[in-house]
């Protein structure tokens, strides 16, 4: 079996670590002290520059040692309520790590009607004996062995790759329940390995499910329960090299298994970045972005994945598909990239991608604006989009989310800070007359050269002022973005105390944003009430992206499930109803999460029967034997 040389405990952070890299890491909420890559067997690993090939994804060969098997993210990072009943975030990776969050408990208890007395702990360890025995295709296995591509059929490896992060998937894991899991995991090391693997799969009629970062929230990684063939999870994590960087054309050719944080870090070393930062970028992979049509937080400057890719190589049962040139735009029939992007693992495996890169921005500045209400905030975002002057990122949280953000404020270190906070609050609510139950906050991130950033900043704040917006400081802005990285960890905390929840998203024309937000939230509340949920749910949203013709809206929905016999089922029904509401209000089926199996029910009405037929005919040509049998999308 394949084995990775265990990384040593390297020296201190000072070893040749450039200032720029620390800056780069800070952006993603990494711990400030060191270039902590990961923790293996409980030890911190700090790597010097020469070792930078050692990307996280390569370490992820044995994910279970680094990451939780039944929750989000790193094993060492989690929220908990300490003995004093105060919330704490463990580990050393994030800005919030090691901090105490004094107001989280009150918020948690009052929002959900939850209590720290009522715990719903998860099964502590993975019980390998409860995992279904793998049904292996011996002939395939024989041939695979001869190729030398590493593989495993150990229970832990298979369970790890049997799920994404949908609520029902995590809930089942916490209860120690396993459905259909892959029978085998393979780790191809390069494009050629993938070609061989797919070839063998076709020859022996084996079902392949590509696996990148495992951050799917569309049930895309779930194995079809009635699949009788041997299911092989094709883990791309070992294909994580940057193959070349072309500084003349500002492109990089990268293997598709690389995860977001490694890609950025490695490019940063050369002074470049892609600027593609989906909220999951710590763990999600380049190939996954392509396969789901991902969107990054800073798409206003860098574009979404479809704007970023120049060239894609994908291995299909029918062969390898790619374009013959890297022309920046072509008119050669329908763009074959658009068959690949969003194909969600149903057509093949993306192995290599040429992606645009940009010089690292000279200057970054966070910011925030308080609006008297959500309506004004949306009107402001609309105006910003109209004038096409959106900063790298602009997001508008509704009131509930603003309060949530507030509950995550760490303990203030001095009386002076707390005095200042009080003063700010007084100014906004009393002096400016904002109702604390209606006001909402937009967070901003500017990027570019210093002068232009400052100019840009002024322009945006001037527009905001026309809609009653008050500048509310860099700190609030930065905390807002940090929240996106820790929110997934918070769900695990909730699940320890009978609270379940998830996020979902949509895109919608501007004129319908307010109506959609209001109706969907109200639908959630009503559905919960009708289904016997005892305490009103948390239903909150934010506008996370602006476009010329509309916006992306992101919802959080969570409730206390004490007293319910089948909470996951109720959760699913409410989410289903919420999605119906979204569609009825002119929203899309998905902006960037994708369809997977969770939302494919609505595909025909979303793209018409003819549209379905088009996709089917592509699938039938490319993969007639349904080797890529995840059954997503269609």
């Amino acid at each position: 079996m394949f084995s990775l040389t265990p990384p040593q405990l390297f020296g201190s952070k000072k070893d040749g670590v450039k200032q720029a890299e620390i800056q780069g890491l800070l952006k993603y909420g990494w711990h400030t002290e060191a270039m902590v890559l990961t923790a293996i067997r409980g030890e911190l690993v700090v790597i010097p520059v020469e070792w930078s090939w050692l990307t996280l994804s390569r370490v992820l060969f044995s994910r279970q040692e680094v990451m939780k098997w039944n929750g989000w993210g790193y094993s060492d990072s989690r929220f908990l309520f300490n003995k004093k009943g105060q919330a704490e975030f463990t580990g050393r990776r994030y800005r919030l790590s090691g901090m105490v969050l004094p107001s989280l408990k009150d918020w948690f208890e009052s929002t959900f009607g939850a209590s720290l007395q009522h715990k719903s702990p998860a099964t502590a360890t993975l019980n390998a004996s409860a995992v279904p025995f793998p049904s292996l295709n011996e002939a395939f296995l024989q041939d695979l062995k001869s190729t030398g591509i590493p593989f495993s059929h150990e229970a832990e490896d298979r369970v790890f790759r049997a799920h994404g992060h949908c609520l029902h998937e995590i809930f089942a894991l916490r209860e120690g329940k396993f459905g259909r899991v892959p029978d085998l995991v393979v780790w191809p090391n390069c494009h050629e390995d993938v070609v061989k693997t797919v070839d063998l799969a076709c020859r022996h009629n084996v079902c392949l499910i590509p696996y990148g970062g495992g951050t799917s929230v569309s049930s895309a990684l779930e194995c079809p329960p009635d699949e009788t063939r041997c299911i092989v999870s094709l883990d791309t994590s070992q294909m994580s090299r940057i193959l070349w960087i072309d500084e003349k054309n500002l492109t990089a050719h990268v293997e598709a298994g690389i995860v977001g944080q490694d890609l950025e870090r490695l490019l940063n070393e050369s002074g470049y970045c892609t600027g593609h930062e989906p909220d999951s970028m710590e763990f999600s992979s380049l190939g996954g972005w392509v396969a789901t049509r991902a969107s990054g937080m800073k798409k206003n400057v860098y574009g979404n994945i479809e704007d970023l890719v120049v060239h894609i190589k994908m291995v299909c049962p029918r062969g390898v598909v790619e374009k013959s040139c890297q022309g920046p735009r072509v008119s050669i029939g329908p763009d074959i990239h658009h068959f690949i992007m969003g194909s969600e693992g149903t057509l093949g495996v993306v192995t290599e991608v040429t992606i645009k890169i940009r010089p690292m921005p000279e200057y970054q500045k966070y910011g925030s604006v308080v609006f008297p209400n959500f309506e004004q905030g949306v009107a402001c975002l609309r105006e910003v989009a109209k004038q096409r002057c959106a900063p790298a990122s602009i997001r508008l949280m509704d009131n509930a989310q603003f309060q949530f953000g507030h509950a995550l404020k760490p303990q203030v270190s001095s009386i002076f800070t707390s005095f200042l906070d009080g003063l700010k609050k007084f100014y906004i609510t009393k002096f400016k007359g904002f109702d604390p139950h209606h006001l909402c906050v937009a967070t901003l991130l500017f990027e570019g050269d210093r002068e232009r950033v400052l100019q840009h900043e002024k322009q945006v704040y001037d527009i905001a002022a026309k809609f009653g917006g008050l500048a509310a400081g860099e700190d609030n802005g930065q905390r807002g973005y940090m929240l996106t990285f820790v929110i997934a960890y918070l769900r695990d905390l909730g699940m320890d105390y009978y609270v379940i929840g998830e996020s979902f998203e949509t895109s919608v024309p501007w004129d319908r944003v307010l109506d959609l937000c209001r109706n969907v939230k109200e639908r959630i509340v009503r559905e919960c009430r009708e289904r016997g949920v005892q305490f009103p749910p948390l239903a909150t949203c934010r506008v996370t992206q602006t476009y010329d013709a509309g916006a992306c809206v992101y919802f959080y929905f969570a409730f206390n499930y004490r007293g319910l016999a089948d909470p996951v089922n109720i959760y699913g029904r409410v989410e289903h109803a919420a999605r119906e509401e979204i569609l009825a209000n002119g929203g899309s089926l998905s902006h960037h999460h994708g369809v997977g199996k969770l939302r494919k029910h609505w595909m025909p009405e979303s793209i018409s029967d003819v549209g379905i037929g088009m996709l089917k005919s592509v699938k039938e040509y490319v993969d007639p034997d349904n080797i890529f049998g995840s059954r997503n999308l269609l």
């Binding site: 109706n519 002119g586 009405e605």
Partner: protein, 639 residues
Amino acid sequence: SVSQSCMVRISSLYPPPLALASCAKPRDPALKKRDDFEDILEERRSSSDLRYALRCYVPVVYKGIAPCKPGVLKTAVLQSDRLRHVMSKETGESADVIREEASGILEEMAHRLRLGTVRFFAYSLSKAFKALFQRVRVNEDGIQRLQQSIQEHPVVLLPSHRSYMDFLIMSYILYTYDLSLPVIAAGMDFLGMKIVGEMLRMSGAFFIRRSFGGDKLYWAVFSEYVKTMLRNGYAPIEFFLEGTRSRTCKSLTPKLGLLNIVMEPFFKGEVFDVSLVPISISYERVLEEALYARELLGVPKPKESTSGLLKARKILSEDYGSIHVYFGHPVSLRSLAQGRINRSQYNLLPRHIPRRPSQETQAFVNETAYRLVRLQEENMVLRPWVLVAALLLQNPDGVDMERLVEQTSWLRGLAVSFGAFLDWPDYVSASKAVASSLALHTGLVRTEGGRAQLAMEPKEPGSPEEDLFDRAASVLSCASYRNQILHVFLRPALLGMAMQMAEASRKDDIYSCFSFLRDVFSNEFILCPGGTVQDFDEACYMLTKCAAVHVQKQEVVATEKGQRILSFLTSLFQPFLKGYQVGPAPFLELVDYPRHFCFLGFLPSATSELTCYEALSSDVQKNALAALLRMKVVRKLKV
């Protein structure tokens, strides 16, 4: 004389909808639990009206939104995308001229709700109501439900329409219970009344022209005005589904125009839900009683005028008994539309661009309208007098008091088992109920020598035509009371008539006769298109329940015991059958249908039966003609 058509009739904008099959299980109407009533005049009789009118009035509002000023509302309407769109489409005129015109329309239409005026009405109506009525009884549970609804979703109040008192009563009650005062769709006729029209405007009425067929700008201003109020949760919107006062006390076929308008914001996602509140207002004696009968006989309705209103003061000296106002359960539009309306059909067109509703939407709106009118009917309080009136009409030569009491008592049992909402407490004996009914309607009934009979003899003999007119008028007055209970018996009676018609007991034959009769009478009664199967099942269920028929798999057979019930039911509806047989005959050759001719143009022979007087009603004639046209039995000729 008083005669004001209050409310506007917005004709159905779109063709009739598709039929919808429904196979819901018939419910047991008698099991329906209804709320108790409180008399709101009781307090008025014991405390100061002035203090009541001046008291602190702080109604709860939708989601805590502060009502905006009428001026702000107007600006919002004029600057709406919808109006801008229509203006850009109007050709030939400059934008300024059109804007002027729109502003003028709005000026003419818009309400100017003022608390001062409301207080004036609160004071003067207290005085008037106390003089006119014994009691104004309201179900307080309904008020509580309404209060809850007002805070959650925009509310549309849908009262039945029998009298021009209806909307005064409505506003009066809402003021009394500290609820938001509604804005009310009223007919332009009111504006003809000096001062009064403007006062109504200041108490929340907005005025709509009676017809504006092709005027796109008018339609746009009007619908945008209503929708803006609804979307902002400005105030409950009140209008009459029936479009006009029912002169016959039967519910009228609902009009869909305004209902379409108030539903659209929900279909387009502009509001989460809309609560539709059916309200049943029943009068023991309608103020316009005598006028209605004359109108039905072709005497034109007097024009609304302030002097006319002042002359009507004499009615203040009469006793009009009690009024019952029942606020029904708010109906959630969202729940009704669940699975019926695909709201995403509105996704591909900007929402301010008007477009014809799809067929499914039209069918849905129509069905909802019928459903709401039926809810109004179901909650309509019936006094014992309506039973007496029904019996007296079946006994044109009079009936012994004893027999009348016995029959009334029997009919009471039948009506209750069919789910009638009868205001007849158990402790009141039948003889007492009959006696007090007759006492309140001395103008219509004569009781002499232990017999009761409809008052048919004219006070001063005149020409034969005048005598006939008077006789017909009193029959129609009496019929208007009987009509109040028809909805209870309608379906079983149609079954009874169908059984007679089919002359066989095969279920299929009876069903097809039932279906035919239902079709014929669908202009006359509230029979939702496409509900034949459901109605048939309901009729079978009701008649089986009172053991009048025996329903088998293939057959429907009348029982021994059922003879009395069935013969009562068929004779209850006999006047309509007769009316349809003879009523429209004289007009079939006429090109245009002239209202005044209904009396002069058709004189039944002197010996004709009493029931034929009802054939003289212009309402029956109009409905019959419409039915014949609809069923393509006759054709309209243009000369």
